[in-house]
């Protein structure tokens, strides 16, 4: 009887917690969904087994949900990045802008849009999502995922629309950390930003 009661209570609290997690995720999704434009600076830190030391780069990010435009621009130490304009994808190399023709490139960019909007409905199809306060963890449902082992996203506790940090761990043990700062939500973005 004692064990039965413990089991019942255990199940009750687990279900209640899970229910709370789902409702929190839905609440976050609703707030994030309201973001129409976004602009931020970022630093990227790569911990690669290939290199003796981690490497760091800096850049900017601009996103317009309505026009489906995204600019991911590295500024230091090398200037490169990519630009998405609806179906079209360009690779930025210094002052050059080259179209990406491969289907793989398009698929990757489509995936980026899912992540930027934190489209939980889409992400749930491929990842097991766990919420811990303002920290969300994504573990691929595919056990032998070649690129991703785990992705952790930290949201700003004061404003969940703002992502402060993302960590992507790879099966090889390599990992990348992106830290976002000076993030502006729904700023007016001129067309020049995406030129």
């Amino acid at each position: 009887m004692k064990y039965g009661l413990s089991l019942f209570l255990g199940l009750f609290f687990t279900l209640a917690w899970a229910q709370q997690e789902v409702s929190s995720l839905q609440s976050y999704a609703k707030q994030i969904n309201a973001v129409q434009t976004l602009q931020s600076n970022f630093t990227e830190e790569k911990h690669l087994s290939l290199l003796s030391q981690p490497i760091q780069s800096e850049g900017t990010l601009a996103f317009d949900k309505n026009t489906q435009k995204l600019r991911w621009q590295y500024k230091k130490p090398f200037e490169n990045g990519f630009l998405i304009e609806k179906e079209k994808v360009y690779r930025l190399q210094g002052p050059l802008k080259k179209p990406v023709e491969s289907a793989m490139g398009r698929m990757f960019m489509a995936e980026m849009l899912v992540w930027l909007t934190l489209d939980f409905d889409s992400l749930q199809k491929n990842y097991q999502i766990t919420l811990n306060g303002s920290k969300i963890t994504f573990v691929p449902l595919l056990k032998e995922h070649k690129v991703v082992k785990k992705i952790t996203v930290w949201l700003d506790e004061k404003d969940v629309r703002v992502v402060t940090q993302v960590k992507m761990e790879e099966p090889s043990g390599d990992f990348i950390v992106w830290k976002f700062n000076q993030t502006q939500i729904n700023p007016d973005l001129s067309a020049e930003v995406f030129q």
């Binding site: 087994s49 290199l51 690129v147």
Partner: protein, 753 residues
Amino acid sequence: MSIWRRHGKLTGFVAFMLVGIVGVWCGSVEENILALVPQSIKQSVSLFEHSPLSQKLIVITQAPSQEQAQEIAESVREELSQAGFIKFPAQPTDNLVLNVLSALPGLFSPQIQQETEEKISLPVITRQIANYYEELFSFQSIFTVQKMAQDPFNLTEIVLNKWREIGQGVQSLNYTNGFLSNEHGNEVAALYDAATAVSDIKAAQKLQQFFTQRQATLPPGARTFFVGGMRYTLENVSLIKRDLFVVSVTGIICLLFIFICFFRTKRALLVYLLPLLVLPPAAWMTQLIFGHISGITLGFGSVVVGLSVDYAIYIYFALQQTKIEAKSAVSKISKHLWCNFLTSGMCFIALLFSSIEVFRQIAVFALIALSLAFFISVRVLPGYFRISAFSGMKTRQPEINSLPFRWAVWVSILLLAFGIWGITHLSVSADLNDLNSTSPAFVKDKQIAERLFPSNRGALLFALGKTPEEALVNNELVSLKVPHGLPLATLFVSAKTREGNWNRWKKFWDSSRQNAVQLSLQTAAQQKGFNTQAFAPFWTWLQNVSEISSFDFSAWYNPLVKISNTLYGVVNIVPNEVTYAQLADGKQTVFISGSALQTNLVRSVKKEAITVVCLALLLNLIAVWLLFRNVKETLLCFIPVLLGGSFLFGFLALCKIQLNLFGLIFLPLLIGLGLDYAIFQLIKYRSRQEEFMRLYPARALLAAGLSTLAGFGVLVCAKHAVLFMMGICALVGIGGTVLVSLFILPSLWKHGV
């Protein structure tokens, strides 16, 4: 017993007809472009048909916008795959780098060795490592880090560059988002491997059904369809089936009309029974001789209907019109029928010497059918017509008057002038597609495909051999004669070359070189902050690499084709240039371009046409001379042929009808068949006695001519270009010959002989 005696022969032929129907039903009816081309270019056409591209299914999508076209094309691809219509080649896997690298030792030719030496020189290593380092600061490095470790010298680039060289200089295709597209992107095409053989008619019909259903779901302005080998299969078979139906129905209606006009008796129905008795056995026996029968040969059945029915008509009218004793009348008219059979038969005998299989099939088919028709007409039918003849039906029918001599001469001159004008203005189509007939809708679809895949710049170079290995060896030998070699000869090597390459690889990567290169790499890598063990995967691979590649490149693209059990070929896609054309020896190496094929086809068909026509004319000239033993009459016999031919040429030019290659070779033959009517008239006027002249009433000739046109001329209703050409030549050419025989020839004969 007496019934059997009276109807035994007819019953026997009816039984033979039924056997023929069953035989044809159980046999195979095949449609193959190879049966329509001369022997001299058969190999080229056959090889062309075996090229990897000809086996592809090409799916084209049109939409108002680029996005829509892309979306529809992608969903159609998905649905085609799910429905099992297409299969995909092996996709590049995550181990692409290792797969490509594993192929390198077997492909390690002196040229690739030289390129590898450059890649492992210190300056190039330093530059490569610097590039990799810079790439690590980009987003895409997430996907390329593994590749860097496995291939620090970027050796895979050497192999992949060879792949890019395939078809280089041939076409400038616009490849966007996984599809070939036009400049606006709203017309896209994709090439797939069909899951079934392109000649599988059932699969082609199912595919057509799929596209019809899919089309119904598309938004306004959007369209999706397929072209390629399967569409040809579908078009040819569907078109011939449709043509056979339309031609048969129209022919029957026309014959019914002629029956009402000229016969109107129950006994006369036997006249039209004759073709039914002879066609099935003739088709069956042709099928037995060739192992199959072409739809075009069956289509030619209508010609045989027209010719064979003539014999019965002449017998019928002869017995109706004369007061001579029936046996004597039949004996007299039989000689004439024998002449007719001889002249028609000579034309078909001449056709037997053609190297075009369909012509030989037609010749055999017609000779058997006409022989049977001749026998039945003179041995079986008179018994039935005689009964009717003696029951008081011998009513005199009014004669048809010929033109006055002066008029006849003027009309002849005008017809000759019309013919000369026609020959100078006649347009001849040398397009191979005119033999591989298609509907107007398909012609439009092909034009769209041609816009996306311009074929005029490319050509195929086949290196042949009795075995796959022999073909590969030959391809390597041919490659040596090309300034920069053939890319396929580098990527698909023979076993002997592979062994040589492997030995070269082992010798190249001896321990001293490995140590030296490892040191260079380490130096360059450490300068950029790479770990000392960063490139260990490459060195591990180098130690364990084996002679046999772990990856089969033919899964991506297989240029090695099986043409027959004893013939294989490597198909190189090369620019349509003299450099490559000169490599061909016609036996081991064959160069095929659309333009060269066209030129050869025209040359071969012209040669065939001259041979067949000369032979037909010569044989007929001998036959007619032996018949009349008179030069003037022999030449007069050819007047309807000459004027009928002039009328035909003039008519074709006037109506701007393009004479296709099939028509070119068939045309004089048809005119040759027109000799029959001239012989009819000349025999009639040679008969001194009035009663014998009555054996040849002009109405008989008119009824026979119209019956031939009803059988033969109705082919103009056909959509298949070959059948249409036969029909138009018959309608105008034979029609002209009949008119000349009726209205001009008698005047010229009376004046000249």
